[in-house]
């Protein structure tokens, strides 16, 4: 489950790179403005001055837009972070409650969670320090308590809620 932190640190690296770029741009703009003011004192009417002033103005505008875009990116990253945390918490709440209503024993709950995370029987057995036969028996009991035919249906039980009415609409769109 290293996916989320990776996205996060990638986003951080990206915003940091953008900020450094923004700083270099600002530095360049400050130098140019200083130069333009120097030219202004010497010869305000020259083509050189007008052109340079135009370029500098464009650079400053670019910085402002860049800063604004960076702000949006930072806020977007934060919103995603928060949404992800909420979704994660909500899903594990839902699973917890469902396991309770099926009256799973604590051991069965653990095995159920691991199965939902995609671990196979051998891995679960190794993690729990139990025999594979035990895990297989526990899984069978979980499936029968939940009234599902097997692992696929067991996982689908929770995914289905998240999908909402995804299937019918997509079929309708396709036709």
């Amino acid at each position: 489950m290293t996916g989320a932190p990776d996205i996060r640190s990638a986003g951080r690296r990206q915003t940091m790179a953008l900020s450094i770029f923004l700083l270099i741009q600002t530095l360049a703009a400050v130098f140019f403005v200083g130069d333009v003011i120097g030219d202004l004192r010497e010869d305000p009417g020259s083509v050189h001055f007008i052109f340079e002033a135009f370029v500098t103005g464009t650079l400053v505008l670019g910085i402002l837009f860049g800063a604004f875009a960076l702000r949006r990116t930072i806020e977007l990253l934060r919103a995603q972070d928060q949404a992800l945390a909420v979704a994660r918490g909500a899903l594990s709440d839902v699973i917890d409650r469902q396991f309770q209503s099926w009256a799973l024993t604590p051991a069965e709950r653990d095995v159920g969670f691991l199965a939902l995370k995609g671990l196979d029987v051998a891995e679960i057995a190794e993690l729990r320090g139990a025999a594979q036969g035990t895990v297989r028996a526990q899984l069978t009991r979980i499936y029968s308590k939940a009234g599902v035919s097997g692992r696929a249906q067991f996982a689908a039980f929770f995914v289905e809620d998240l999908l909402g009415e995804g299937v019918p609409t997509q079929v309708a769109e396709a036709s």
Partner: protein, 218 residues
């Protein structure tokens, strides 16, 4: 300014886990440049002038960010409010500082004074160099070094009378030094404040200014 929204009630999450990259860059950039210029580089040297221009760029970027940046970096998140600052200091002394999502009111006040001092230092620095960019300073120095003294003559042959010019330069120099010393004093005060506040809040306030919890794995 009644009950600013910077005051969060529950849960106490303050200040941010990680300041945004622009705030961090400008903070450490200014810190390093000011320390170098105050303690290491020689006044009027090319390095000194270049660092001064860098500080000017950092300050401008931070001020732009104070309008365009994310919520906790904007001026509206930490308005200058001496009354709130005094209240915060009293709370700090009693060991129960309030929580704020941006700078605390005392820190905010210091931030504004610091920016003002930075602006004064750069402005007087510009007066002292005649607004010459580092490129121009380098060119003049190279010209003088090669025996062409005309660069110096053009400068002192300016529009205003020499006496007036000298008076202005003298004042600028004085102000430049006083403001620079003020910066060092404020920096020391700032470090002391961070230490005190971190102790009182039992929270490392330095980490959010460096990498936050970027390397924390759950």
């Amino acid at each position: 300014m009644a009950s600013p929204r910077t005051r969060s009630i529950a849960p106490p999450v303050a200040p941010p886990d990680l300041w945004d990259p622009v705030v961090r860059l400008t903070h450490w950039g200014v810190a390093v440049a000011v320390l170098l210029n105050a303690l290491v580089t020689k006044g009027g040297s090319l390095t000194h002038v270049s660092l001064g221009w860098l500080v000017m760029a950092l300050l401008l970027l931070r001020l732009v960010w104070g309008v365009l940046g994310p919520a906790e970096a904007r001026f509206s998140a930490f308005p200058p409010n001496p009354v709130a600052a005094a209240r915060h200091l009293r709370q700090l002394l009693s060991g129960q500082p309030g929580y704020y999502s941006s700078h605390n009111p005392a820190g905010a006040l210091m931030v504004y004074v610091f920016w003002a001092a930075l602006a004064v230092v750069t402005a007087t620095g510009l007066i002292l160099t005649g607004g010459a960019t580092p490129m121009r300073v380098a060119a003049e120095k190279a010209a003088v070094a090669s025996g062409d003294w005309s660069a110096l003559i053009v400068k002192s042959d300016g529009e205003s009378s020499d006496d007036e010019d000298k008076g202005l330069r003298h004042t600028a120099e004085e102000v430049h030094e006083v403001a620079a010393n003020l910066l060092l004093f404020l920096a020391a005060l700032h470090v002391a404040g961070v230490v005190l506040e971190s102790r009182a809040m039992r929270r490392n306030l330095v980490k959010p200014m460096i990498l936050g919890d970027a390397h924390r794995r759950k």
